[in-house]
Point group: C2
Chain length 360, copies 2
């Protein structure tokens, strides 16, 4: 791997270390373990292996191991969507004088949360959505948070309310998320929204942003979902579970793979569509994937890398270098699902304002 | 098949017609079709086939083709549960003077619905639960139904409210089911209950009766769910989907097979646990099943049979005669899941009364 490359998808010359086992990435899963550094794709290596013993380390250029996978460019699609939202926000303002508004609450001092909130605020500004920010100290009382939520529920200038997670430990997440009006739950985390998402013939007011972004990528790139075998890796309330429900609504045959799944590799290998959301760097190896599959990688995992300016680089749940030689299309990390999440949050806020004001 | 047998699980001598293809049972599914009369298990036939051409029709006794599958006796388990409920109802009455009450609403003149309602009423009586019945004519106004629901919501003698489905076509099922107080929704059909069922770390107030009954059978017979591959056939709001969510909560790796699934046979064949709820008589053939699997058959399908007193007999979704030679355990139809549904309704009503009156 080119040491100067601090993203997960270099396209430069690299060194293949044949036969040198690296870290075990599969930490929480039971079943068969693959030992080997992500990137040393055993399938590919086989075609290149020199007939010598011990195997030699050789340098090959990226062109020689060129992959055919289409790169699903989330950054570009998110930009398209934000442009569409900008147009719609402007049209709404001109027509009925209403500007969509998003309230964001941040409780505590987590740096990552502060960054997310800042990015959401900037994204609102960029499309013309008003943002309202509340920052409360770590030791705030739950009642104080609930009071702000109640005020936002009643505020006609606010069409979406978002409470940045995780909350400080002394707070009851369930109480707080349930307090958000179902009509302003732009995160789509309310159990009533999840219930409607699960039920045939029902429509949720909002779909959680990250899984919605995953499906939007499949749609915009024209990948068929109906009748396909889909595997979702991870069953979190905010990504894995709703992603599975969305695929199910679109007539895929869906399996959820999780930490108690036996032989996850074998199950993933059968999937035409893979959505991975476990937060395990490079867990899904090239050998896990069906040739021609479409891979949506939700994981954004920092891994230590002293050669990068920040001391780390970001990788997905899927070993990108291996996967791109096997699958037909894949999202990069970063630049895949990440930008879609905020785009979907803006989309949900716009939809909410349209619905509240009955604007088509 | 013994012509006098009008259930789906005869245990008498029978005639095997080797090589005589019968009806195609797979109607709504795409993928490979198996042609052959349910019961003429090709795997089994192979071991018995005489070396003659054309194959002969021979008579074998049931003992000769004895199956090893354990019969999951839903009738017996339901009886056990009803006995437990009787004891608890009595204990509650003695301790705090409260008798659980179930309100059942029947709108219209459907005979099957009337039978279900009558059975529920009788079941309540048998365990000491009070039942309140409302019958309204087919052409009732939706507002009239909503008024009754509202009254039951407020009535302290009522701890569970059940609206018998299907409703007359002019009524909006969603409006009516949503009107039932979440605290008295003993059917568990409210989207808030379904949402909580789908979410990790949340607890539904009630779990829908039929899928709850399926899982209860697995528990009472001591079948492990955690880590097992489970397939649910069918994705209805009242059985398939909540059954999948329940299995998922118990750490199975779950796939939902539905009418758009390609090669359902191949997917079902990999499952350690199969729950079928599609309403297609004998659709799941012996060849679909993994040896040693556990099968819960929710289907109760009438098939014409002139030799039966009523002109029909009941069969499941799974071809019982074939399946019992392959799997390790199976529910019969009738006498499997059927009796469990009402037992779970009584259980939900008791739980509701206990919760409302804070009685342990």
């Amino acid at each position: 791997m080119n040491s100067a490359d601090c993203s997960s998808h270099s396209a430069t010359a690299r060194l293949l270390h044949f036969g040198s086992p690296g870290a075990i990435y599969l930490r929480r899963f039971v079943g068969s373990l693959h030992v080997g550094r992500c990137g040393s794709n055993p399938t590919h290596v086989k075609t290149l292996r020199l007939r010598s013993n011990p195997p030699k380390t050789i340098t090959v250029t990226e062109a020689e191991v060129a992959a055919s996978a289409k790169i699903i460019d989330g950054k570009m699609v998110a930009k398209e969507i934000r442009d569409e939202i900008t147009t719609e926000v402007s049209r709404m303002k001109d027509a009925i004088g209403v500007v969509p508004g998003l309230a964001v609450m941040l409780i505590g001092e987590r740096k990552d949360s502060a960054t997310y909130v800042r990015n959401k605020k900037k994204a609102c500004e960029s499309v013309g959505i008003n943002s309202f920010e509340v920052r409360l100290p770590e030791d705030s009382a739950e009642t104080e948070v609930l009071k702000f939520i109640s005020d936002f529920n009643d505020d006609p200038a606010v069409h979406g309310i978002l409470v940045q997670l995780p909350l400080p430990k002394h707070m009851n997440e369930q109480n707080i998320l349930n307090a958000v009006s179902i009509e302003k739950d732009v995160d789509g985390f309310h159990p009533l929204n999840i219930g409607r998402l699960a039920m045939r013939g029902r429509e949720p007011s909002f779909v959680p942003c990250t899984p919605k972004g995953c499906i939007e990528l499949l749609h915009r790139y024209g990948f068929q979902i109906k009748g396909k075998k889909a595997v979702v890796i991870g069953r979190s309330n905010i990504v894995g579970m709703p992603a599975a429900l969305l695929l199910q609504r679109e007539d895929a045959t869906v399996t959820i793979v999780h930490s108690r799944t036996q032989n996850p590799e074998q199950i993933v290998k059968e999937a035409d569509i893979v959505i991975s959301a476990v937060g395990q760097p490079d867990m899904v190896r090239g050998t896990w994937l069906k040739p021609g599959a479409v891979v949506i990688d939700v994981g954004i995992n920092p891994v230590e890398d002293a050669t990068c300016p920040r001391g780390y680089r970001l990788v997905g749940d899927v070993c990108y270098e291996e996967a791109r030689k096997v699958v037909s299309a894949i999202t990069p990390v970063p630049g895949g699902v990440g930008p879609m999440t905020i785009a979907m949050l803006l989309s949900n806020t716009l939809s909410s304002a349209k619905r509240i004001h009955n604007f088509q």
